[in-house]
């Protein structure tokens, strides 16, 4: 295609590809079908954009999420009408909940057939309206380019999220004019990125006067780009204050730093949760006071003044009332915070801070992630500790997870010193996320080590993606902590349902080593402690897709745990504690 000007007439399918190219898209994840054949035809006739053929449309979305989260770019997906679009719904919802920028193109039946229950017709914009940030049905080829560019703008600006563009087949064939990205700004959507400086001044005053401060940091800092993590790290170190991160915020602050208290929330650390409970000034940056984090809202951090930085005004005062709301992009706000802190010559209250750290170190000394070491049976925590040892010092490791106990253990035991190296389904908690997400990350970083920490139940939800990994020679590693249970379900049944393990046993499991083999990958198994290191070393050495069947203790539970509806100071620390006698530690909290 020649260097087309704005006035060139192109087919809809060519407009799609030109727009993607102009948006800098290098790869799309998709699956063909009747309603997108013109676009697939156009794809065939060009070499700039690579297409990764997944084996299920849900996986296309998760792969695009893994690609997006590990690069900071927009992930792009192409699916057909009807079942292609409905299969995409889980992935779209996942991206919406976790604020991942995605543009998903779907085919639609020809415009004159819409509404007729035509073959493979579904109301895609109707179905996806509540699970996208925005969506479009393009009925006129002359609106196609503008809509595509607007979709990218919407997906990545403000709070990121998934955007669907539904394109009827006749529009893909029709000829129309192209428009450049610069001509295609949305009329109304202008999210606020620069904060109100008076609020920032107010926040800095409160922070400097704090006696028991804490930074509570979430995925929004990752959304704001690596510079936000650098600014956060700089600011936290300047103040000397403690910092905790959510599941989605892991990597926003270096995990190896003393000032990091670990993850907070339901399976967060003792020190992080008690520090949240006992703090007097909380500064929340890019986190959304999720119920997994707050526990019982009425008892959440009862004595603190709360500062909340978020790009989305609807995240502020949603679950928890805050005192100083700051709407803006985390990077911009942190930059202003650092500048104002310095300009006003602020200093932390050294004596109070020393006392606060003394209290925190006392909590930290409980060593809440401790577990019983066994000579033979592999504890899942042990397997992850050995994995951590094997990858330490490398900065080209990308970890994804499925959903369950293994996910929480991965969050607790693996080291995240940098943003964009950790991908997990936090908001929706989608089993089946991890393998396609690892594939997406591997596509973006072909030489990196991409590991999906999996459960034996979750992995079966998108196991077909092994074929995708093989086809594109993507050496992803599936690290299954095989406890033969839907462990997270079993844990709740044990703690809250009298040990009645209803339907949570993983019956009739496949032989994962043979399964890897059947796909053309490599299968490895460890059944006792002595084999763990060798299996991990072999997994890392092999430059092909690998499934590791790590046969772990079937009965291990994930601690600490704040049972649903309980407060931060009602945490269970280990198997000997029961839900009823979760002891309030109010006395200890009051410094």
């Amino acid at each position: 295609m020649s260097a087309a000007t704005n006035e060139t007439s192109l087919t809809g399918a060519d407009i799609v590809l030109k727009a993607l190219r102009d948006q800098g898209v290098e790869v799309i994840f998709g699956y063909p079908g009747g309603a997108v054949l013109p676009i697939y035809d156009a794809l065939f006739q060009q070499n700039d954009i690579r297409h990764i053929l997944v084996r299920h449309e849900q996986a296309a979305l998760h792969a695009a999420e893994g690609y997006a989260r590990s690069t900071g770019k927009v992930g792009v997906v192409l699916v057909t009408s009807g079942p292609g679009a409905t299969n995409a719904v889980t992935g779209l919802t996942d991206a919406l909940m976790d604020s991942i920028p995605i543009v998903c193109l779907s085919g639609q039946v020809a415009t004159h057939l819409i509404g007729n229950d035509a073959f493979q017709e579904c109301d895609t914009t109707g179905i996806t309206r509540p699970c996208t940030k925005h969506n479009y049905l393009v009925k006129d080829v002359n609106n196609l380019a503008r809509t595509l560019h607007e979709a990218f703008y919407v997906a990545k600006n403000g709070r990121p999220g998934p955007v669907v563009i539904d394109i009827p087949k006749d529009v893909q064939f029709a000829e129309g004019t192209y428009r450049s990205p610069a001509d295609s700004m949305p009329k109304s959507y202008r999210p606020q990125v620069k904060p109100d400086l008076n609020r920032v001044e107010e926040a800095i005053d409160l922070l400097a006067k704090a006696k028991r401060p804490i930074f509570y940091v979430g995925g929004g800092v990752i959304n704001a780009g690596p510079v936000a993590s650098q600014l956060l790290t700089q600011f936290v170190r300047m103040t000397g204050y403690p910092c905790t991160t959510t599941l989605m915020g892991l990597g926003a602050y270096p995990a190896s730093d003393r000032q990091w208290l670990g993850m907070l929330g339901m399976h967060g650390t003792y020190e992080a949760n008690l520090a949240m409970h006992g703090c007097d000034v909380m500064v929340c940056i890019g986190a959304r006071f999720d119920d997994r984090v707050t526990g019982k809202v009425s008892e959440f951090s009862p004595n603190s003044v709360k500062i909340h930085v978020d790009i989305d005004p609807s995240s502020i005062n949603k679950n928890v009332r805050v005192d100083v709301p700051i709407v803006g992009d985390a990077a911009h706000v942190l930059e202003d915070m650092i500048r104002i802190w310095k300009a006003r010559g602020k200093q932390p209250d050294k004596a109070a801070l020393a006392e606060w750290w003394e209290q925190i170190e006392f909590w930290r000394a409980r060593d809440c992630l401790r577990y019983d070491k066994t000579p033979k049976i592999i504890k899942p925590q042990y397997a992850l500790e050995r994995l951590r040892a094997a990858i330490s010092g490398r900065d080209d490791v990308y970890i994804t997870t499925e959903v369950g106990q293994h996910q929480m253990w991965a969050a607790q035991f693996l080291p995240f010193d940098k943003p964009n190296h950790w991908m997990t389904s936090g908001g929706l908690g989608t089993m089946g996320y991890g393998l396609p997400a690892a594939i997406g990350a591997q596509v973006a970083h072909p030489d990196a080590l991409c590991i999906d920490v999996a459960g034996e139940a979750s992995i079966l939800m998108n196991i077909q993606e092994m074929a995708t990994a093989l086809q594109y020679r993507l050496p992803v590693k599936v690290f299954i902590l095989n406890n033969q249970y839907m462990g997270m379900v079993r844990q709740w049944q044990e703690l809250l349902h009298g040990g009645r393990y209803s339907e949570s046993y993983s019956e009739a499991l496949p032989d994962f080593v043979k399964l890897a083999d059947a796909f053309g990958g490599v299968g490895l198994r460890a059944t006792e402690v002595s084999q763990v290191d060798d299996v991990i070393a072999e997994m890392i050495k092999v430059k092909r897709p690998v499934i590791v069947d790590m046969c772990v203790d079937q009965k291990e539970n994930c601690f600490p745990m704040i049972p649903g509806g309980r407060a931060h100071n009602e945490m269970l620390l280990g198997p000997d504690e029961k839900v009823e006698n979760a002891t309030p530690e109010d006395g200890m909290v009051l410094v």
Binding site: T125, D280, K306, P313, S314, K318, D323
Partner: protein, 175 residues
């Protein structure tokens, strides 16, 4: 230092919210889906194009909830892509609120005369009449309409059609 907000049980408030949106397909579904999906109340919702050149529509919503919920509703509306502006008229000073109803009453004799007399009192217009029926058009505050319709219930009310509330701020400023 203590938190500035006590988290005590807050009162339910009624708010009239006016939003300017792009008049494009699906925009009303987005607004309504937001309310149903998140469990907010809609007491009344009206929509019509108000600027043909710019293809803008105004949606007026009467809703109720705690102050925190009202704040959420406005924030959620504000982040819909086709929404240009969200105004909480209840918060932004004095405003006028009007609603129109068509009220059909059937009957003869004394009841028919009484219906017509009351319509006069309420400044309702007769927009259709037969020997045995009237259709009245009444415009005013919601409660005024409620009262009129209540009275007609005694006098042969057949049916009611209401527009829902439209509203505008008082004074020269925009909305």
């Amino acid at each position: 230092m203590t938190a500035r907000y006590a988290q005590s049980a807050p009162a339910i408030e009624r708010h009239t919210i006016s939003i300017l949106v792009d008049n494009e397909p699906g925009v009303l579904a987005r607004v309504i889906g937001l309310f149903s999906g998140r469990g907010y109340n809609i007491e009344s919702l009206t929509v019509a194009e108000v600027d043909r050149d710019a293809t803008l529509s105004r949606v007026t919503i009467v809703t109720s909830g705690t102050p925190m919920i009202i704040e959420q509703i406005k924030a959620q509306l504000g982040r819909l892509v086709p929404v240009h502006r969200v105004h909480d008229l209840t918060m932004e000073g004095p405003f006028v609120e009007r609603e129109t109803a068509l009220v059909k009453v059937a009957g003869t004799g004394e009841k028919r005369v009484e219906a017509l007399r009351l319509a006069d009192v309420f400044k309702a217009r007769v927009v259709d009449a037969t020997i045995t029926s009237f259709v009245f058009e009444i415009t005013g505050q919601g409660e005024e309409l409620d009262r009129f319709i209540g009275l007609m219930a005694e006098l042969g009310l057949v049916g009611v059609s209401r527009t829902g509330v439209v509203a505008m701020s008082r004074g020269p400023g925009g909305i």
